[in-house]
């Protein structure tokens, strides 16, 4: 007991747990509940049946009522624990319910019908994580199509972003040319122009090019990210110019320098940008909402939004689909969280 107390009150560097430490831990624990609790609640709820979901107050874990198949009845009957008049508790199956009276039978002796007050019976339940919502949801929601669209958009857009941004960053960090500062300034200042400000003309441009209702219309416009150019340029500035000069003396062309010297050396920065881009694209909502009108082209986010609009009451399916939508990004975070957090802390941008 003493050692546990010692372990719990141990702090880094200092010897004793001060009041401030206690408050800090309380705050952080409360924060953990608030930040992570809602997601956990969503996941737990997604395994519940429709009957369980409308139950109030809700249970924390998903339960399912035990059923029993009795000869002579087509459907499985719900099992209840019934308190009899003499105080004994028996497991009975309910045949039907009339008002406050339930007609029950003993599964071992299905001939005799026992009538009990419904207040005397308690459903027998066990914790069951059912994937029914997922199975039905995937069928009704056109999940695979949306997933495919999301994957195509995220993958192609990230590759395009890496190529286009690294080329621009290379030019802006390693060459002296007229207009360099102007181009850099324009690039950075577009950080401040959100899509929301230019919604209508962007829609016009996309329509004119013929990219409306086309995944390309979602992929290409967002590829020239100012954040990416800035991040890569800052990194490439640390690559010594002598390396490039000696390669030029050896007869390497500028493209060869870019592909075989700059890109491999900038790999850490490219990795950070790739993670960012995957996050942005997977979660992107506004742009695909405007470009894509035909439902077979929807990404998961747009699909999920329209799905919840259509099926206001089908929470069981919505919950399951929401979990499936957040799963990939959670996996990315679990494996790459160190890069994500340091990446954001160093660039201060998203």
């Amino acid at each position: 007991m003493n050692t546990i107390a010692q372990y719990l009150t141990r702090t880094r560097g200092r010897t004793r747990l001060s009041l401030t430490d206690v408050i800090t831990y309380l705050y952080l624990t409360f924060g953990t509940i608030v930040m992570f609790g809602p997601v956990l609640w969503l996941v737990l709820s997604s395994f519940k049946s429709t009957q369980q979901l409308v139950r109030f107050p809700p249970t924390i874990l998903p339960y399912r009522q035990e059923t029993v198949t009795v000869e002579g009845y087509d459907t499985p009957l719900d099992l209840y624990a019934v308190t009899m008049e003499d105080g004994t508790v028996r497991q009975l199956a309910q045949v039907r319910r009339v008002g406050i009276e339930a007609q029950m039978i003993d599964p071992t002796n299905p001939e005799e019908i026992i009538r009990v007050n419904i207040n005397q019976r308690q459903p027998i339940e066990s914790v069951v994580f059912s994937f029914d919502n997922y199975v039905t949801g995937v069928q009704q929601f056109n999940f695979w199509q949306y997933l495919w669209n999301s994957v195509v958009v995220t993958a192609l857009a990230t590759i395009l972003t890496l190529i286009v941004n690294s080329m621009a960053a290379f030019a802006l960090s390693k060459y002296q040319f007229r207009g360099r500062n102007a181009i850099f300034l324009v690039t950075i200042s577009t950080l401040m122009i959100p899509l929301s400000v230019i919604l209508i003309p962007v829609f016009l441009v996309i329509t004119e090019i013929g990219w409306s209702n086309n995944l390309i219309g979602v992929i290409v416009p967002g590829a020239a990210t100012p954040t990416g150019v800035f991040l890569l340029r800052q990194y490439m500035l640390t690559i010594p110019d002598e390396l490039l000069d000696s390669a030029r003396i050896d007869g390497a062309s500028e493209w060869r320098i870019y592909l075989q010297i700059i890109l491999p050396l900038a790999r850490p920065a490219l990795a950070v940008l790739a993670i960012f881009s995957i996050m942005w694209r997977w979660n992107d909502f506004l742009w695909p909402l405007i470009v894509l009108r035909r439902s077979e082209l929807f990404t998961l986010q747009v699909g999920l939004n329209s799905f919840q609009g259509e099926l206001q009451t089908q929470w069981n399916l919505i919950l399951a689909m929401t979990v499936l939508t957040l799963l990939p990004i959670t996996a990315v975070f679990a494996f790459l969280q160190k890069y994500i957090t340091t990446g954001i802390a160093t660039t201060g941008m998203k």
């Binding site: 831990y25 122009i193 929301s196 209508i200 016009l204 986010q301």
Partner: protein, 345 residues
């Protein structure tokens, strides 16, 4: 090409899983191909001017999808009718702006011709003030807590950051599920002896919850930036202060706050810019309702240009020009503030 062939032979000879690295071979072939194709271009332009080629794709995308739309937006703002193509739209001067500002009493949206616009402006103003101040305080508190020497620091940091990764739609659905009539929160309220609250059907509650969920979803991002700022403060300063007998509060006021100011400015302005643009989370959450209670500026622009029966592109563009002005002012203020901060230190 000769060099790349060597490791292939070696790996086929030895049974160890030393990768033949086809990707490397492919990549080298690709580099050679690009090299051949681009050689005439480089001969023509010279080494330094190749930079234009490298910067071109990025500039093209910028130009077509950001700069051009910006110019077009101005043209929409000063032309009328419901036509989408600028050529079909008659020039009407500042009429769109005049319509937006046609109000007999600016404090009462009901007296305005575009009453929804003014409701959106009021909603946005309140949202920006409350959301930004609440979020900055929460993010700072959390960053200070995470900056202490505590166990499980990395774990707590990830927990607070996790919601940042969730998409607006997912965030909205998670909270809609908790806040619905028979939801978790109402169950807690009932178990404590209260009565159920229709959170998203009541205008005031809906406003409160839009603020709360946007803080929930974004706080971790700002916490992370503030934490980086806190960790950049040299620990010698605190050691010297405690040697001089300064209290914890005194060192917070005289060391932490002033040295964190540049980071705070960045956080504040980024938070402001984002708050002005609030939209993504609201659409799946309340879709602007109940009524117009949670209709903010961008939602107004979106509705006017895309979902309303008559597509008033001119009005929407005029509203977005006004919003751009606000954003530019904020950005400009940030630049001024950060520069002033640098001069001081």
């Amino acid at each position: 090409m000769n060099r790349t062939a060597a490791p292939l032979e070696k790996s086929t000879a030895s049974p160890t899983p030393q990768s033949p690295n086809f990707i490397q071979i492919l990549f080298n072939g690709f580099v050679d191909l690009i090299d051949r194709l681009m050689a005439p271009l480089q001969n023509l332009l010279g080494v330094q001017r190749m930079a234009y080629i490298f910067v071109l794709p990025n500039l093209l995308i910028f130009g077509i999808f950001i700069i051009l739309p910006m110019i077009l937006n101005l043209s929409y703002a000063f032309t009328g009718s419901t036509q989408l193509f600028p050529a079909d739209r008659p020039f009407i001067g500042a009429d769109n702006f005049a319509r937006l500002f046609e109000c007999s009493n600016f404090l009462d949206p009901n007296t305005c011709r575009e009453d929804v616009f003014w409701r959106a402006v009021f909603n946005s103003t309140i949202f920006v003030i409350v959301q930004v101040s609440f979020m900055v305080v929460m993010a700072l508190t959390t960053a200070l807590a995470l900056n202490r020497k505590i166990m499980l620091r990395a774990f707590f940091r990830s927990v607070f950051f996790y919601p940042v990764l969730l998409s607006p739609v997912v965030v909205a659905l998670i909270w809609k599920w908790i806040l619905q009539q028979d939801g978790l929160l109402n169950a807690v309220i009932v178990s404590l002896g209260g009565t159920r609250v229709p959170f998203l059907l009541n205008a005031e509650w809906a406003r409160v919850w839009v603020i709360l969920i946007s803080v929930w979803a974004q706080m971790g991002f700002f916490t992370l930036i503030l934490l980086a700022g806190l960790q950049a403060i040299p620990s010698e300063l605190y050691e010297a202060a405690s040697m001089d007998g300064a209290s914890a509060w005194a060192s917070f006021r005289n060391i932490t706050l002033p040295l964190l100011m540049p980071t705070m400015t960045v956080v504040l302005v980024l938070a402001l810019i984002r708050a002005v643009q609030v939209f993504d989370q609201v659409v799946p959450f309340t879709n602007g309702g109940p009524g117009t209670a949670t209709t903010y500026m961008v939602q107004y622009i979106y509705n006017t240009g895309f979902t309303n029966q008559t597509r008033e592109y001119g009005i929407a563009a005029a509203a977005s020009v006004l919003m751009a002005l606000i954003l530019f002012t904020l950005t400009f203020a940030q630049l001024r503030l950060t520069r002033a901060g640098q001069n001081e230190s």
